[in-house]
């Protein structure tokens, strides 16, 4: 029954959710993962998962969750999948609760919720400060249950390297490599689900895990799967610098009352706890009175970077600001944030319950990813049981989780990723079941399976034989440093063009790199040549998307094209508002569209095209987190309507 088997690559939240749903609906699943699935990068998610369960008497609703998400993403997300996700979110959280996830509780025994960025509601369910780990374990346990029943086979410590496509260009299987024996094998299946997470390692030291090469997405991209919004990557405002990676301090630290500040006077020599309130610059609270420390991540990141690099106010002259929890009760902090405060103490040797943490922004997440399509119904929601939901442009290839480009637009709200991964995973499970019902696939010819496997084996042999003077790990470090320097918080076209040239240089050097290891067992450095080639290929898409998008949208910030809002003190009848909104409309006209990068093996650079954004539910407007612009925008729109009627 090979044609009824689904091949799922990646065992994080998205892949496991897809697997358990597909099993429940009668299919059998093979899961491929570079690590034991329980060690997937989803474990790193800390703060929580969003769903408008509305148990706090705040009048929260899926509709408000939808508006917050679309607005947080600067209107770049297609709206039907987001609406369906927000409406399903409370049920998803309830399901995870039933699976035994140890969510924090209220005194009455209900799920507790906390606040996160980009919303005014308590909407984030959490399990201490290791929510991603706890959710992953919940799904891992269910998949183990299906494994015990014989419905799931796991190929752990295997790496996906190639899609097997039939003559019509439809996926009928994949090739993967055992990372211990280094042998390749072909697997036939009715669909290939790529749930392989983000490509963070192209940015070098980030908050990502050491497995986030993006090598699976790169392999699929090279075979023709489109890459959507590659330039949209998220920089988390509160990272901890480190020599091996940048660790994260969750947004929940601010959700639980953490305040961001620097001394007003950079030369202030007093110990932090003797600096009185008036000499502290709580810059987020002063500039964004409505959302305060809980503005969306892109905004917090830029403010922190500007306070340090433009205003020179970084703590001790360093690129660092205080994230201060010392005013909160220590027991409370241990209960709500224990896991992340332990991590800070373990790595920095300072107890953040007693001394403010020092943090700085760090690359964190890719909103962009493999292009995932959908079918909308008449109400503008995902069509139930359509095989097209989450399917890429290549038939029978699905993308889901951080690996896909949907749900988050140009900036992801905190605690929305865990929801999007599980929700889209469940949807994908349903899609492949719909596909199985409608498809009459003939078994894949064994000669095809053999030849594809042989091709990959030959490619790998060439990598092992590679014996030049360059060290691939050194090239990777340089690539990461360059991407972080020129393509992260602020982007400038001259620097991006320079970066494009540098990446060409890394690609050339990679051809002269050595595999460092000729052995046939657990050869991680020969495999790394392939992974680095994938990172270089994907980084070109990121940089090209960034070069072409001449505007500021969400996390993509190009100061030369900024349309800065009038200061919040500007009276609403001031013409500055009209000018601002006119420019907003012009830029939206030009740039409110999804970037589509297509790989072209005959050219060094990707081909970039654009697709309109499906904004059928909510009209795009300028984002405003100060609480002032709302009235000005309403007035502007009213005057335009009046003009239109006149």
């Amino acid at each position: 029954m090979s044609e009824k088997r689904v091949l799922i690559v990646g065992g994080g939240l998205a892949g496991l959710a897809a697997a358990m749903r597909a099993c429940e609906l009668g299919l059998e699943v093979d899961i491929f993962s570079m690590v034991h699935v329980k060690r997937s990068h989803s474990v790193c998610a800390q703060g929580g998962i969003n769903g408008a369960v509305n148990t706090k008497g705040e009048g929260d609703s899926p509709k408000i969750h939808f508006i917050d998400t679309i607005k947080g993403g600067d209107f770049l997300a297609d709206q039907p999948p987001v609406l369906s996700m927000c409406e399903a979110a409370p049920a998803v959280i309830n399901m995870m609760d039933r699976l035994g996830v140890t969510f924090n509780r209220t005194p009455e025994g209900l799920l507790d919720f906390r606040r996160f960025g980009g919303t005014l509601h308590h909407r984030t369910a959490f399990a201490g400060a290791s929510t991603g780990q706890q959710l992953l374990y919940g799904l891992d346990e269910q998949v183990r249950r299906w494994e015990a029943e014989g419905k799931v086979r796991k190929f752990e410590n295997w790496e996906f390297t190639r899609l097997i496509l039939d003559n019509d260009g439809k996926a009928v299987g994949l090739v993967a490599q055992d990372l211990n024996t280094m042998e390749f094998k072909s697997f036939p299946g009715l669909a290939v689900v790529l749930a392989t997470g983000g490509p963070g390692l192209m940015f070098g030291k980030t908050t990502n895990s050491t497995i986030n090469f993006g090598s699976a997405t790169a392999a699929a991209y090279k075979q023709g799967v489109w890459y959507g919004n590659p330039e949209m990557v998220q920089i988390h405002p509160t990272g901890i610098p480190g020599s091996d990676k940048l660790r994260l301090i969750s947004e929940s630290a601010r959700g639980e009352g953490g305040r961001v500040w620097v001394p007003r006077n950079p030369k202030d020599a007093r110990p932090w706890n003797t600096i009185p309130a008036e000499d502290r610059f709580y810059f987020l609270e002063e500039r964004y009175p409505l959302y305060g420390n809980l503005v969306p991540r892109d905004i917090a990141t830029r403010e922190i970077a500007q306070v340090c690099t433009k205003m020179g106010l970084g703590v001790g002259g360093r690129n660092a600001v205080y994230l201060d929890l010392t005013h909160r009760d220590e027991d409370y902090l241990t209960r709500k944030l224990g896991a992340i405060l332990d991590i800070y103490e373990k790595f920095r040797g300072v107890d953040p319950k007693k001394v403010p943490m020092e943090i700085y922004p760090a690359y964190h997440y890719s909103m962009g990813g493999l292009y995932a399509g959908y079918e909308a119904d008449g109400t503008g929601r995902l069509m139930k049981d359509s095989p097209l939901n989450q399917m890429t442009n290549i038939p029978n290839v699905y993308a889901v989780g951080e690996a896909d480009h949907q749900y988050h637009g140009a900036n992801r709200l905190g605690a929305n990723s865990l929801m999007s991964c599980i929700f889209a995973g469940l949807v994908t499970g349903e899609s492949v079941v719909a596909l199985a019902k409608n498809s009459k696939t003939a078994p894949v010819a064994s000669s095809v399976l053999e030849s594809e496997c042989k091709l990959e084996t030959e490619n790998y042999k060439k990598l092992v034989a590679q014996d030049g003077p360059e060290n691939p790990f050194v090239i990777h470090r340089e690539l990461g440093d360059a991407m972080s320097a020129f393509c992260l918080i602020e982007r400038h076209n001259d620097e991006l063009l320079q970066l494009r040239g540098m990446i060409e240089g890394y690609a050339e050097r990679l051809k002269k790199a050595s595999s460092l290891d000729k052995s046939g067992s657990g050869n991680m450095s020969a495999v790394f040549l392939r992974q680095l080639d994938g990172m270089i290929c994907m980084s070109k898409a990121v940089v090209e998307g960034a070069i072409l998008r001449d505007e500021c949208r969400g996390a993509h910030y190009k100061p030369a094209f900024d349309n800065e809002a009038p200061s919040k003190e500007t009276p609403i009848d001031d013409p500055a508002w009209t000018a601002y909104y006119e420019k907003f409309l012009t830029q939206s006209q030009e740039w409110l569209k999804t970037t589509i990068a297509k790989h072209d093996s005959s050219k060094s650079l990707p081909t970039i095209e654009y697709k309109p954004v499906d904004s059928r539910h909510l009209e795009p407007e300028p984002r405003d987190y100060t609480g002032v612009g709302k009235k000005a925008w309403a007035k502007f729109k009213a005057s335009r309507t009046a003009q239109g009627q006149a």
Binding site: V35, L99, E108, S130, A148, F473
Partner: protein, 250 residues
């Protein structure tokens, strides 16, 4: 002369090859941990004698001590490499693979046995389905804190590495898996199938093989109360054995 870090690494080229030691002398960086030592070696894979060697193979993922991947024996103590800070441990730093699991290569071992044992004890909640069935059972904040503690277990294997009863060739399931048995038996709907887990945990290689050496709880990086879990599971087993089918299925 610039400051260096001295490291000795126990290596093995393949599962059946003999083990050997390599020594490295690496430039010191502030804030270094064992992971950054290994990363530094692969950027310049030469040993202390100046001989070019293959980069060291090790397993890692999150580097935040929540995934369990980078577990190894560091200066004789089993722990995660990511939280082993160079400034806090003595040199030369010795790195060895765990000894209770078969070596795949260098510091990488095969811990599949842990996951097989989780399967054996029915380590999951038997839900009716993944469709919308409303909220789960209510739970007090105190119970949540207790279950959360057990649920932090990342299957790293530290408790098994230090356990005198857990051997490479034996079949003892180990403390972590007994802890997980307790976790699911504490869950309100998980408890409905407690007997199934108790039967599994008393089958061959089960809880009766525990010698109460209590090393597990000292080695656990997440401070999970494993000895307590063993005691509680043991009590439940006794109750179910004494009262048989008349016992409340808990």
């Amino acid at each position: 002369m610039s400051k260096t870090v001295e490291v000795r690494i126990k290596r093995q080229d393949s599962p059946k090859a003999p083990a050997y030691w390599d020594e490295f002398s690496i430039p010191y960086e502030e804030g270094m941990n064992v992971i950054s030592i290994l990363q530094s070696i692969r950027r310049d894979p030469r040993n202390k004698q100046g001989k070019t060697v293959t980069p060291v193979n090790w397993e890692s993922s999150c580097l935040e001590e929540v995934c369990g991947a980078c577990t190894m024996v560091i200066n004789g103590k089993v722990r995660q490499a990511c939280t082993a800070l160079v400034d806090q441990i003595s040199q030369p730093i010795s790195l060895e693979p765990m000894t209770k699991f078969p070596v795949e290569r260098d510091l990488r071992v095969n811990r599949q046995r842990i996951f097989e044992n989780l399967k054996k004890i029915n380590g999951w909640v038997d839900v009716d389905g993944y469709h919308d069935l409303g909220p789960g059972p209510r739970q007090s904040p105190i119970d949540q804190e207790l279950t959360y503690k057990f649920s932090e277990c990342m299957s790293c294997g530290c408790c098994m590495e230090v356990c005198p009863q857990f051997t490479m060739d034996g079949n003892f399931i180990g403390a972590a898996v007994i802890g997980q048995t307790q976790l699911f038996n504490m869950h309100p709907s998980g408890a409905m199938h407690a007997q199934k887990r108790l039967d599994a945990v008393t089958s061959e290689g089960g809880i009766q093989d525990c010698g109460l050496a209590q090393q597990c709880v000292k080695a656990c990086p997440k401070h999970i109360p494993l000895v307590e879990a063993i005691g509680q599971v043991q009590r439940s087993v006794t109750v179910s054995q004494v009262f048989g089918s008349f016992s409340k299925r808990k």
